[in-house]
């Protein structure tokens, strides 16, 4: 295909060419920037939870009447909930998956400059494995006899052994065995021993946002104080969660002077965890699509205009023996050349915008793969936009030439 005539024609009609290039460059810049922001926002989004979150209910009660005995209430709560039909198992816990935000540092040595590893510590009893359906990967799973229970006042001692998640084990010990190793849950605290490794589950947004979603530690102890009652995680028979929520709430309200802060299926907790970022990213993407459509129409308009302008030339070429496909190819090639130039400039624009945006948001949005994909989509859309007017051009009859003076 000879592209010389295309360049000659562009030279003759410089403004049109420039307009098309600028438009493509701008669209490319805006489009890929918003897609970049959206994908960056969506990274670590909707990751596997590792637990049957559709069938787990969380209840977070609290006593406002200081005369009530939290310890007794806890025992009664557990018994009462277990006797509700369709309840499979229940565990008290100081943290709830998807909102386990109490991030701490864990250390491998007690040295002053020891490296910090982020994690959350879940304090719970032996039923947690059944509730969350966690499987034992290595080592030993703790039993009822390992669990320390009591109010913070009367029970100062802490469990000397913990279990860690598979991801935590990988981060802390790489490919060495974690079993029997010693870790520190705070500087100068008593060290604890790793007794086992369990399968990963989603902790919460604070770790997830740092790409450390599954770093957790389970400590076999349940502690309470007057203003801090543990949460309850309750697994129910598949699909009965929504119907059971009210019944279970009633059980908790049997205690006087109590308030239920939160009662929901973990499915909803999960939704809330991702919502803010998800809806922002979605807004960006919807805007991108609208922009793409507008630019598509603009391209169609411009090409249609050029076709109208060049009717006579097209007729002449056809009369001189050019095939319909030659005419089509002319317009498609011309458009592709302009698109290519536009896209190249557009990538530069993207870099500028992304750099500025990253600077402002303190987050790196740049992702070459996304930019290339956007460029490809833009090119395809442009071809589509030019296809119809080009087709019309190809259908111009050769005889049109003869009509002119």
């Amino acid at each position: 295909m000879d592209i010389k005539p295309i360049f000659l024609s562009m030279k003759k009609n410089k403004f049109m060419a420039i307009l098309m290039i600028v438009q493509i460059a701008f669209t490319m810049g805006v489009l890929s920037s918003s897609v970049l922001v959206a994908t960056a926002t969506l990274s670590e989004w909707n990751k596997a939870s590792g637990i049957p979150h559709e069938d787990i209910i969380r209840i977070s009660p609290e006593f406002f009447d200081e005369t009530q005995d939290v310890g007794q209430a806890l025992v009664k709560d557990l018994d009462r909930v277990r006797s509700v039909p369709n309840v499979v198992s229940i565990a008290p816990s100081n943290a709830v998956p998807f909102t386990a935000e109490n991030m701490i540092n864990v250390y491998l040595t007690n040295a002053e400059d020891a490296q910090e590893y982020k994690t959350v510590v879940v304090e719970t009893d032996e039923n947690i494995f059944d509730v969350l359906q966690l499987s034992l990967i290595e080592g030993r799973q703790f039993t009822a006899s390992d669990v320390i229970k009591g109010s913070t006042e009367t029970t100062p001692q802490n469990a000397p052994e913990v279990m860690i998640s598979q991801e935590m084990a990988r981060i802390l010990f790489d490919d060495q065995s974690a079993i029997g190793q010693t870790i520190w849950l705070a500087k100068n605290a008593d060290p604890v021993k790793v007794m086992g490794i369990y399968s990963n589950f989603m902790t919460g947004e604070r770790l997830n946002g740092r790409g450390k979603s599954y770093q957790s530690i389970i400590r076999p102890q349940v502690k309470w104080s007057q203003n801090q009652e543990p949460h309850y995680l309750i697994r129910v028979e598949q699909g009965t969660g929504t119907a059971l929520l009210e019944d279970i709430l009633d059980v908790f309200y049997q205690e006087q002077g109590r308030y239920i802060n939160s009662s929901e299926l973990l499915k909803r907790t999960q939704k809330r965890m991702y919502d803010g970022r998800g809806s922002r990213a979605l807004t960006m993407l919807v805007i991108s699509v609208v922009l793409l459509v507008i630019t598509g129409f603009g391209m169609t308009g411009l090409t249609a205009f050029q076709v109208t302008q060049k009717r006579k030339q097209i007729g002449t070429r056809r009369a001189l023996g050019a095939k319909k496909s030659d005419i089509m190819r002319y317009f498609l090639t011309e458009n592709s050349i302009l698109t290519l130039i536009g896209l190249l400039i557009g990538v530069l624009v993207t870099f500028a915008i992304t750099f500025e945006a990253s600077e402002q948001a303190g987050q790196n949005f740049l992702n070459v793969g996304v930019i290339l994909a956007t460029a490809l989509v833009m090119w395809l859309i442009n071809i589509l936009a030019v296809w119809f007017p080009a087709k019309r051009a190809a259908n111009i009859e050769p005889a049109i030439v003869t009509r002119s003076a």
Binding site: F15, M16, L19, M20, V22, Q23, F26, T27, G29, V30, S33, S34, V37, E62, F64, D65, E66, N227, G257, Y259, N261, R268, K271, R272, D275, G276, G278, S279, R280, L282, T283, M284, I287, V290, L291, I294, T295, F297, G298, G301, L302, A304, F305, T308, Q309, I353, E356, A357, Q360, A361, G362, R403, S404, A405
Partner: protein, 452 residues
């Protein structure tokens, strides 16, 4: 002549309705998104208490210990200690009002067992809060200094609480309970649309406090303090416990945690600052304020400026919306060009018959103005729906915990924004049409007549 041009312009608009529609669509969509974002950013940056915001000051003094890090910005400096709060409140300057507050929370309930209790946030504050920050009252009033000093158990509740606990009727004189403390309602607030909850320095939008209680009562009954305690090393280890316990130690400590506010008339500002410096000097002799004397009086305007400067989402979003609008305008240029150039023949005929360039320009400007006006109107309609959409997204994103009433003002189009949008729309359309009009009015007379 005008009516003739108008007639031609309308005829031309109707001629290729799909092209006209595309132009209007491009302008309207671009403008719609731009106005949506501009409105959000405009409403979000509205300063609360605008009529006196420049006279409402956050008061900060550097009471930290000698080893503390230098302060980079006013926003990084600690709040006020309880000791200093009480001392400053005793200061008497004419025309100056002072108040302070911290956050608490509790379970609000009534005797009636059919009404489920509510866990909610609250402000602990002094009587001046109501005169300085002017929350609107539905029933009753705030408490006065006398009630405050007596430590009486009184409470001001929000409209939301009044609706939930008392079915919306006048509840002044009735009692509510926070946890197990019984308090008498002396005032019910109406919906209070603070654009930002500035007084606790959270600057959050749409998260009003649901009750207000006198600090004297809160201290006597040791209500929980939801605050960050910036302590000297001596107390750092028990800082967390100050939320619920060790009240006596907290009151005498160097821990800063109370947000202190002053309303100062212009002519007293310098004097007030001098008084602060004098106060710090007097305390230095007691071994306090070991660092170089440093005070900050920051009015609401300056605080909001700083806070809004840090809203990254709206910044990135604004940038994209502006560029989006630019792309739409570029599009309008190409479509207008295509539309006008189709008419080359007609224009060349008119020119040959003696029509002046001016006439041709006038005709096309009218046409473009009509497109601009329609685009502006449709754009404003689109931005209305855009704002509704963004509002619903925010409610969804908060998992329906924020209420429509609280965030509605943040997504409200007003006359200023409508006027701006309209002007932007028409002006940008005119700019977009400069080149197409220039091309069409330069068509040589009779050039096209020889064909056919």
């Amino acid at each position: 002549m005008f009516s003739y041009n108008l007639h031609l312009a309308i005829k031309s608009l109707k001629d290729k309705p799909s092209l006209t529609f595309l132009t209007v669509l491009a302008i309207a969509l671009g403008l719609g998104l731009y106005t949506t974002v501009a409105t959000m950013s405009y409403q979000g940056s509205q300063v609360p208490l605008a009529h006196k915001s420049k006279n409402i000051f956050l008061v900060q003094m550097d009471s930290r210990e000698i080893t503390a890090d230098p302060v980079e910005h006013q926003a990084r400096l600690v709040d006020t200690t309880y000791k200093d709060t009480i001392n400053l409140m005793a200061m008497n300057l004419s025309g100056v009002k002072q108040t302070f507050n911290w956050s608490t929370y509790g379970i609000l309930n009534v005797e009636d067992e059919n009404i489920t209790p509510l866990r909610t946030t609250a402000a602990v504050t002094s009587s001046n809060f109501f005169t300085m920050f002017e929350p609107p009252f539905l029933y009753g009033n705030g408490w006065d200094k006398k009630v405050e000093d007596s430590g009486e158990a009184v409470i001001v509740i929000s409209k939301l609480m009044n609706d939930k606990l008392f079915g919306g009727e006048n509840s002044v004189g009735k009692t509510v309970r926070i946890n197990t403390h019984v308090l008498k309602v002396i005032g019910v607030l109406d919906t209070w649309n603070l654009t930002r909850k500035f007084y606790d320095r959270s600057y959050r939008s749409a998260s009003p406090d649901n009750f207000f209680i006198p600090y004297t009562f809160a201290m006597e009954n040791n209500l929980p303090r939801r605050a960050g305690f910036d302590c000297w090393a001596a107390n750092a280890d028990i800082a967390r416990s100050f939320r619920n316990e060790n009240l006596d130690r907290l009151m005498n400590s160097e821990c800063a945690w109370v947000t202190f506010w002053a309303e100062i008339p212009d002519e007293q500002i310098e004097n007030y600052n001098q008084q602060l410096v004098n106060y710090i000097d007097s305390q230095k002799s007691l071994g306090r304020f070991p660092r170089e004397t440093l005070t900050f009086l920051t009015n609401l305007n300056d605080q909001l400026l700083f806070i809004n400067g840090r809203n990254q989402f709206i910044k990135v979003f604004s940038m994209l919306a502006t560029l989006f609008f630019a792309v739409c305008i570029l599009n309008a240029v190409s479509i207008l060009l295509a539309k006008f150039m189709r008419r080359t023949k007609e224009v060349s005929l008119r020119r040959a018959l003696g029509a002046k360039k001016k006439t041709i320009i006038a005709q096309h400007v009218i046409e473009v103005m009509i497109i601009g006006i329609i685009g502006g109107v449709v754009g404003i309609v689109i931005s209305y729906f855009g704002l509704q959409g963004m509002m619903n997204i925010q409610i969804y994103a908060s998992d329906y915990t924020t209420r429509l009433e609280d965030i509605e003002p943040l997504f409200q189009l007003n006359l200023v924004m409508i006027g701006k949008a309209f002007a932007t729309g028409t002006v940008c359309t005119l700019i977009a049409s400069i080149y197409p009009i220039w091309r069409i009015c330069n068509v040589p007379p009779a050039s096209q007549l020889k064909a056919q």
